[in-house]
Symmetry: none
Subunit: 265 residues, 2 copies
């Protein structure tokens, strides 16, 4: 059962419906419902499903995305299934010489998003046969998935998934940033304190050898940590690492020095 | 059998390999092979598949895309499976508080494409369990699919499909640079050797306290260095740092032990 809230959500977002022309396998219909739910689509329309409808085997393969199946509507033909829609794109591997715009899924999704006020749909052909050219001809555009020409056998649910994903992506006009600095980046001065700590301990340990190379060695070390984009917590952790690695030495040296200063008995 | 031409093609295009961690269902492995072939990926790696390998039921669900299955390699662990790679992204629904770059599939594909000279991989978790956080922590970035929060159960092959599709799309685009790996990144196995070295020394120094916290402490440390995108030279430098900081302790302890073993005069 689709809830009222869910139906409203779909309307508000201008999500396209998904129309499957003569789908053969119930498992594929269920898998389509699952990916529709993954990306916020709900309105599933079936044109003359080969084995009738409902088919119980569809539900298990939806993995809990029951609402597109529960509310799926069956139509006798593609024209009947798209009658109330104003913008329909057909997903097809060939353009069939029709003078229609040819888009990839991203361009198709962008076109749907720009026209979110229009009731829209994505039309998919049968598993093997694909769409009839006369059904393609009543659509407003073709969506062609950029598939490897050496292996074009794309699963039906995968074709729906790619288009649903692109629709979802298109909803976010400003996608999240590629590279995000840590949520609580450290102030430079904390970083400098860490550098001092590290370099002091390395000096003590005789790491900077020969001395003439010390400036470039220091620079190279700093770059590593600057690039890591450390948080305050991480700087504390790294200071703990340095202390742990070097403290034993310090303590033991102090002990040794103390023993040395004792006159032999 | 993969043909020579196909292997060359993959190499030339810099396609990422696909690593499935503990996949459960043979049908899913076959479906993954199918979408890999759809978008020109070939190198499939399986980490400890639940039912062993090969599993005959995988081939029918590949619908003829046999070559990724025929050439699939099995590994005992995620670190072993990614040892030769230089850029690995983990697909995960949660960022687990790890301070790694978070990308959507498009941004991930763009990063792979900009760095097509680096051997790379996309890491996917088991059908239900997902990835272990310690395996995520050794990667260079996270890919999160923008899925509807109300229904997040995404099929494994669909997750692979979306990333493979985006990789294919990115081949035709010239995206802006953002995620930049180092000029000569280290192979994962060098990094693992460095982790072992650091963690061994920290163990000796009593750093991991209380012991129950060791796993998360190790993870947090690894993330720092995974994120830094270290070069081979930098890893050598850091190993020198660890040795320098800890060797004094060892030398001095040995000296102290030698003195202690001398009977007092």
């Amino acid at each position: 059962m689709v809830s009222k809230a869910k139906a409203d959500y779909r309307q508000a977002m201008g999500a396209p419906c998904v129309i499957l022309d003569r789908p053969q396998l119930a498992e594929n219909i269920g898998a389509v419902a699952r990916v529709m739910a993954n990306f916020g689509l709900e309105d599933l329309r079936l044109v003359a499903p080969r084995d009738g409808w409902p088919q119980p085997r569809a539900w298990p393969s939806a993995s809990g995305a029951d609402w597109p199946l529960d509310n799926a509507r069956v139509f006798a033909s593609v024209p009947a299934a798209v009658a109330d829609l104003k913008l329909v794109f057909a997903t097809t591997a060939r353009n069939r010489g029709l003078a229609l715009p040819v888009m990839n899924p991203r361009q198709g999704a962008e076109a749907l998003t720009r026209n979110a006020d229009l009731p829209s749909g994505l039309l998919f052909g049968a598993e093997r046969a694909g769409l009839e050219t006369e059904d393609v001809a009543i659509t407003q555009g073709l969506i062609t998935i950029p598939i490897d020409p050496r292996f074009k056998s794309l699963n039906l649910a995968q074709a729906v998934a790619l288009n649903a994903y692109e629709w979802r992506m298109a909803q976010d006009a400003a996608p999240p940033a590629d590279f995000r600095p840590p949520s609580r980046p450290v102030a430079q001065q904390e970083l400098f304190g860490f550098y001092d700590h590290l370099e002091h301990e390395l000096d003590d340990a005789g790491f900077f050898h020969p001395p003439a190379k010390k400036p470039s060695m220091v620079r190279n070390l700093r770059v590593i940590f600057a690039r890591a984009g450390l948080t305050e917590q991480e700087v504390r952790t790294l200071r703990g690492v340095i202390t742990a690695l070097s403290k034993g030495r310090g303590r033991v040296l102090a002990k040794l020095a103390a023993r040395k200063s004792d006159p032999p008995s």
